[in-house]
Amino acid sequence: MTQNPYLWLIPTLPLAGAAINGFLGRRSSKTAVTTIALAFPGLAFALALWIALGFSSSAAPYVFNLAHWIRSGNFSVDFAFYLDQLSLVMLLVVTGVGFLIHVYSVGYMSDDPSYYRFFTYLNLFMFFMLTLILANNYLVMFIGWEGVGLASYLLIGFWFQKDSAASAGKKAFIVNRIGDFGFLIGLFLIIQHFGSLNFTEVFSKVEPLQAETSGAGLLTTIGILLMVGACGKSAQIPLYVWLPDAMEGPTPVSALIHAATMVTAGVYMVARSHVIFERAPIALTVVAIIGTLTALFAATIGITQTDIKKVLAYSTVSQLGYMFMACGVGAFSAGIFHLMTHAFFKGLLFLGAGSVIHAVGGEQDMRKMGGLKTYIPTTFATMLIATAAIAGIPPLAGFWSKDEILWKAYEANPIYWAIGAITAFITSFYMFRLLFMTFWGDYKGIQVDDHGHAHATHGHGEHGHGEPHESPMVMLVPLMVLALLSLVGGLVGIHNGFEHFLEPVFGGEFPAAVTEGHGNTELLLMGISVLFSLAGLFVAYVLYVSKPYLPQKIAASLGAFYEAVLNKYYVDEIYAKLFVKPLVDGSTAILWQGVDRKVIDDTVNNVADGAKHVSDEVRHMQSGNLRSYAGWIAAGAAVVIAYMVYLGVGR
C-alpha cells in the first residue's frame, strides 16, 4: 500500500467542471462552456496517465484516505480511494475514452440549445464513474454506482420534451433500482458477517473460508445478490430491457455511458469481488449462465433490428454477456480485457453511428440509408475497423479478447464455448449487416424527408435535406483515435501480457490456463472462431449486398419466429403484463384509492371537518355584542363564586 495524495483529484476534477458549467453555464459563452467541459476531464485523463506511468505491474496498490465518513461501534467507512491494476485499467479506459467522447460531443451537440446542460451531466457522469472505480470500499463504490445511474437517467432523458425519451429515462432508472436492491442486500450481508465494507478487509476475511462446493451458503448468497446488482447495471437477463430504450439519449451518451463505461460497472464489480465469487462456485455458474444466455439472446434480437443504434444496443448487451461469461468461468482478466477492447470498438461504433446519423440528417433507420461510403469516407473507414474488431477478425482488438474468453469458456465447459462461438457468428453477421445496409448500395435517404421533422429536436433538423455530408474534424479525430485503439488495442493480450498485468489482483488461481494455454486446442478453437466470424461476414454479404431480395424471403419463410425476434421476443410486453400492470393496478387500487385516499386523506379531512363543525357551534359565543359578553362574564363569575361557596373557601 502506497499513499498517493493525488488520487482524490481524479474524480474531483470532472466534478469541478460539472459544478462550474452547471451553475454558470447558462450565462457563459459557448466557448467558455466547451473549454471547461473539456479541460477538467482532460486534466483527469492527464493525471490518470501520470499516475499510471509511476505504477508498474508489480507496484503495490495506491491508497488515499480523504475523510472519515461513518463511525459506528466497530463498523467504520471512509471516503477512501484505492488504485490497483484492475482499477488502473478501468481508470484509463474511462478517462481516455470519456475524454475522446467529450471532444466528439462538442461537434455533435453544437446546435443543441441545452449545450451547457449536456456537458454538465457528462462531467457529472465522469465524476461518479471515477468514484465507482477508485472506491476502496463497497459503500463509496455504491455512491458512484447510484451516481452513474442518476447521470444515465438525466442523459437518456436529455431531450425530455420527447415523451419517449422521458419514459426511457424512467425505465432505465426503475429497472436499475431492482438491481440495486439486490446489490444493497448483498452489502448488508457483508456488513453483518464481515463487519466491514472495505475491500481489503472483507477479502482478507473471505480468503480463509472454504469454497462452497457442496451447497449454497453465505458466499453464494452474497455472490448472487451482487450479480443481481450487476445484472441491472450491466443490462443482463432478466434486467437488460432498459438498455435498448436508453438509445433515446444523444448518441455520445450511448457511446460513453451505454457502451464504453457505465454498463461495464457490473463486470468491474464482479471482477472486484472475485475473492467472494471464487469461493462460491454456484454463484459463478449463475454468472456464467446469465452471461452466456444474454450473449446469445441479445445477439439474435440484434439481427432483426433496423434502427442503427438499437442494433448497437443489443450488440452491447450481447458483448456484456461475453464479459460475464468470462467472469463466470473464473477468467476475470479475460472479462476485463474484453471490457477494455469493447470500450474501444463499441465506443467507436456508436460515435460512427452518430456521425452517420449526423450525415443523413437525424435519420436512424438503416433501411433509409445505404451507399454512404462515398459520402462519408472517414466515418466509413473507422466504422469498418470497428466492425471487423467486434466481429473478431484478426488481428484487431476484439479478436484477441473474444478468443481469450472463448478459450477459457471451453476449458470450463464446452457448452459455453459452443454458445459463445455461435454468438460470435451472429455478432459478425449483424454487424456486417449494419455496415452493408448503411454504406453499400444506393443512398435511399433523399426522397425520404418526411422524417426530418420528427428529429428536429435533435438539433439536426436543418440537415434534413440534401446530400449526406462528412462530420467536422472535432468529431472525426476521436473516431480516428478510437479506430487506432481498436486496431492495436488487442495486442496487449499477446502472450497473456494483459493477464500478467492483472495478476496481482486476480492472482494465479488458474495457472493451467496461463502456462499451457496456447496448445493445439486453443489454436484450433481460434481457427474455428475466425472461421465463424468470416462466415458471418460472408452470409451478411450474400444477403445484403449480392442478393438483397433474400432477407425478406427468409423472414417470410420463418413466419412467427421472425415476428417474435423482430418484436424482441415480446419481453417488454411480457414484463408489462407480468410486473408493470399488476404493480400499476395494485398501486392504483390499493395504495392510491385505498391507502392514500381512504386512509390518509380521509383521516386528515375528517379531523379538519370535525374542527370546522365544532367551531361552527362555538363561534356563536363570539357575537360581537358587548352586552352578551358582559352576560357571559357575569354568569361565569357567578358560577365561580357559587363553586367557591360550595367548597367553603375561606371558612
Partner: protein, 100 residues
C-alpha cells in the same frame, strides 16, 4: 356603631345595580356609569372591612381603585367620542363589527 353587615349589604346592592345596568342598558354612557357604580360598591366593602379589622391596606387599595377609575374614565370617554364620531350612535348593539 353600624355593624359591618350593613355596609356589605349596601355594597352588594350597589354592585348588583351596576351589573344589572351594565347588562340591560344599551347606551354606552349608561354602561360606563354602571361600571363606576360597581367599582364604588367594591370600594365600600373595602373600607368597611378596613375599618372593621383596623387594617390600612383596604383604605390604600381604595385610592388605587379611584385612580384607576379616573384613568379609565378618561380613556373610556375618549373611546366613546371616537365611536360616536365613526358610528354616529351610542347603542352598543349596533357596535358589533367584530362579529364573524
Amino acid at each position: 356603631m353600624v355593624p359591618l353587615s350593613y355596609y356589605l349589604v349596601l355594597s352588594g346592592i350597589l354592585f348588583a345595580c351596576g351589573v344589572t345596568g351594565f347588562l340591560i342598558k344599551r347606551n354606552i354612557i349608561t354602561i360606563f356609569m354602571s361600571i363606576e357604580l360597581m367599582l364604588n360598591g367594591v370600594n365600600l366593602s373595602f373600607v368597611a372591612f378596613a375599618a372593621h379589622w383596623h387594617v390600612l391596606a383596604g383604605q390604600v387599595f381604595v385610592f388605587f381603585v379611584m385612580v384607576v377609575a379616573a384613568a379609565e374614565a378618561a380613556v373610556g370617554l375618549a373611546i366613546i367620542i371616537a365611536v360616536y364620531r365613526t358610528r354616529e350612535t351610542l347603542n352598543v348593539d349596533q357596535v358589533n363589527l367584530l362579529k364573524l
